[in-house]
């Protein structure tokens, strides 16, 4: 394993590589079966710049997410996209890094309101497949100077370059949080309730369905008085859907941390899938999935988490719906196959950024 302690050393390691490299941050999100010598960014740590008054933060890629969240909390700020911690679900140990979060575009329940990791990302530095250091974007949140390679790097799973530094737009902290729980709905009614809530002016920051507890959960965040007001309004809006319950403070925070990390499927055997669909399609999509599957919904129905028996390929059932499925654990291909024209573009990009095809071989492009 190589663990360079500077960007220059990272560039040297890539330039000097003679075989495939498996790119790793903290090793907590081992998606796919890339082979090769591990090249870790864990040696590149530290917050380079943090301006609370400008809502911007820049850190080296190997910086633990926890360190960044702690620094932000000191100023009552936060990362907008609520990055998921994959450790419990995937049974991994180690320290999630911010670069790993970017490479996987790890975005939690707040995705529906505050956007994905890629939406908060404002700058990157990375080493391409030939060992050249490239920068794109910067430390300001509004920037259209040249092509947005920042977005391209987010979610590219280390196949286009090894991130060395990442910059974010951050948001003010949250004074109060509360959750409205609606009991006893089936998937179709749950999605209908979530759509109604998300189409209201009450700024829902989380909308999930936990079928095994038959709970539909809707999160509100903000200043105390505002949360109280919106909670009341939301109850009135959803009157008639089912019995309701409120969670406040710690109870609400715990529920959403568990929902974010999908801990309800931690330790559950079987293949693990993550499916992105049009929210109102979710109840129909579920009917095409194996009958022995366990599932939950996030993002108002737009994100299906499913655990199925080993070897089942869910993509067959998705055919008539728009969206895509990622196999996080299992024998199926990791990422959704692309139509020919898009696959050609993806392969073209991979060839330009990593002409020797040494980064995370077999993944993407």
């Amino acid at each position: 394993m190589m663990t360079p302690d500077s960007e220059a050393a990272l560039a040297e390691a890539v330039a000097g590589a003679t075989g495939p490299l498996r790119i790793q941050g903290g090793g907590t999100r081992p998606i796919g079966q890339a082979k090769g010598e591990v090249l870790s960014t864990a040696g590149l740590t530290g917050i380079e710049l943090y301006e609370p008054g400008a809502l911007t933060l820049v850190a080296k890629a190997g910086t633990p997410v926890a360190e960044i969240e702690a620094a932000l909390a000191q100023e009552n700020q936060r990362l907008p996209f609520e990055p998921m911690d994959h450790r419990a679900l995937l049974g991994t140990t180690g320290e999630p890094t911010i670069g790993g979060g970017v490479a996987t575009n790890a975005s939690g329940p707040r995705r529906i309101q505050a956007g994905a990791c890629r939406d908060s990302l404002i700058g990157v530095r990375y080493v391409d497949g030939q060992g050249t250091v490239i920068k794109n974007g910067g430390r300001v949140m509004k920037n259209v100077t040249g092509y947005d390679l920042v977005k391209l790097m987010a979610g590219s799973h280390g196949t286009l370059g090894v991130l060395s530094e990442v910059g974010f737009k951050v948001l003010p902290g949250i004074e109060a949080t509360a959750t409205l729980v609606v009991h006893g709905l089936d998937a179709a009614r749950a999605v209908a309730a979530m759509s109604k809530a998300l189409g209201s002016p009450y700024e829902i920051s989380g909308a999930a369905y936990l079928p095994e507890a038959t709970k539909t959960v809707l999160r509100l965040e903000g200043f105390e008085a505002s949360v109280t007001y919106r909670l009341k309004a939301l109850r009135a809006l959803l009157d008639g859907f089912g019995d309701m319950e409120e969670l406040h403070g710690e109870a609400s925070r715990d529920l959403w941390a568990a929902t974010r990390d999908v801990t309800h499927f931690a330790g559950v055997a079987g293949d693990l899938w993550r499916i992105s669909v049009k929210p109102s399609d979710a109840p129909e999509v579920l009917k095409f999935l194996p009958s022995d599957m366990r599932y939950s919904l996030d993002w108002g129905g737009g994100l299906i988490w499913a655990v199925v028996s080993e070897g089942a390929d869910l993509r067959g059932g998705l055919g008539k719906f728009s969206g895509h499925a990622t196999c996080l654990r299992g024998a199926a291909r990791t990422f959704h196959p692309e139509p020919a024209a898009l696959a050609a573009i993806s392969q073209g990009l991979r060839a330009q950024f990593d002409p020797r095809r040494i980064f995370n071989t077999g993944l993407m492009g």
Binding site: G138, V144, G146, L149, A154, P201, A225
Partner: protein, 477 residues
Amino acid sequence: MEMPAPDARIMAKKAKLVSRLQQVLPKDAVIHDEFETRAYECDALTAYKCPPLCAVLPSSTEEVAAVLKICHEEGVPVVPRGSGTSLAGGALPTADCVILGVAKLSAVLETNYDDRYIRVQTGRTNLSVTGAVEENDFFYAPDPSSQLACAIAGNIAMNSGGAHCLKYGVTTNNLLGVTMVQMDGTIVEIGGAYLDAAGYDLLGIICGSEGQMGVVTEATLRILRKPEGARPVLMGFDDNEVAGACVADIIKAGVLPVAIEFMDRPVIRATEAFAGAGYPDCEALLIVEVEGSPQEIDDQLAKIMDIARKHNPVELRESTSAEESAKIWLGRKSAFGAMGQINDYMCLDGTIPVSELPYVLKRIGELSKQYGLDVGNVFHAGDGNMHPLILFNANKEGDLELCEAMGADILRLCVEVGGCLTGEHGVGIEKRDLMFDQFAPEDLEAQMKVKDVFDPKWLLNPAKVFPLSATETRRAG
């Protein structure tokens, strides 16, 4: 400003090209008459003009594909055009190019309130997207100030922002899917009515690529429910630095206003003379707007005004009615018109780290004296996106060049303090030759490699974004 010399071989085959285009488009959709092509000779950067070889106005994705296929076969450059409102020259033609206008593609294809999206053809104007959903109390968030006229196609090409992007983000944060035609005529579908398109983030790279990757003909856009209400507060300060500190304190206090607009003394005076909004005569003025229910607005404005009071404002005026809100916004919304009343102006668009505001304003003041040209500053203070307006006289010999030189110095200053050349208008031809001030050659090479994949022959809007010297060999190929 230099553009590539037109290719004589292309100029010579105009008749053949027009005839081929007429075979795939209705006759009136191919504009080739010398006088009529002048309608397409420039965009909103009117200092530069050049009629195209011809212009086409296709009515469907298939017609766009047919046009691009022909141009690809003939080796003719294509400049896509939305509504022609670019301030950066993004739609400026060359004499040997075909202008591909999307104006006839203006339909709403689908609205879905349960899943909160709208699918439109991209010639549709920004404001009319909101217009299509507002009877159901929804809106499309990005709101560039040209929104009455600008097309979604141009918004996607330039990744347009607006006054409200501090809260809602810019175009790229609100784009879910596109239908795009590649230069060789291939039609691709990327993303759709679901979050996070599969594979590499191609939407992210297409948005803001200034029409250099393909022609986007349809787009799926996120729509949002309107807030219950919105109300601004106006505050005046004796010192730019104090106004800047007030903005930082508001943000640090955990309030996230939907807009924070800044105007300096020259702009305040010009707008007062022009619109009479009742602004105080002071060094710096802030308009801070918040959203929510009436009670939520009251609470947030109370917090914001408490912070403002600690900075000894010369004026602190909370709007208490729709009329007062309109009056507070009146001056800001007429700022460009007011400056235009005084003289011709050039509008810059650099972004700076908010903390550098006092230094940058001081340096702009010094540059103004050095060049002998007046400058006013309007500024999206929450996100650091500046709009310095340099006044000059277009009829005075040498004044435009002087103004451009000063503008370049201001943009270099933005880069020097850690910012960038353009926050929301795009590079186009206007900032093309400054790209080496922001990027190392290898950074630009990495970007150009992306275009190599989408448009290997470099026929789509080829003379934009990158310095001509950097693209010369690619364009020749």
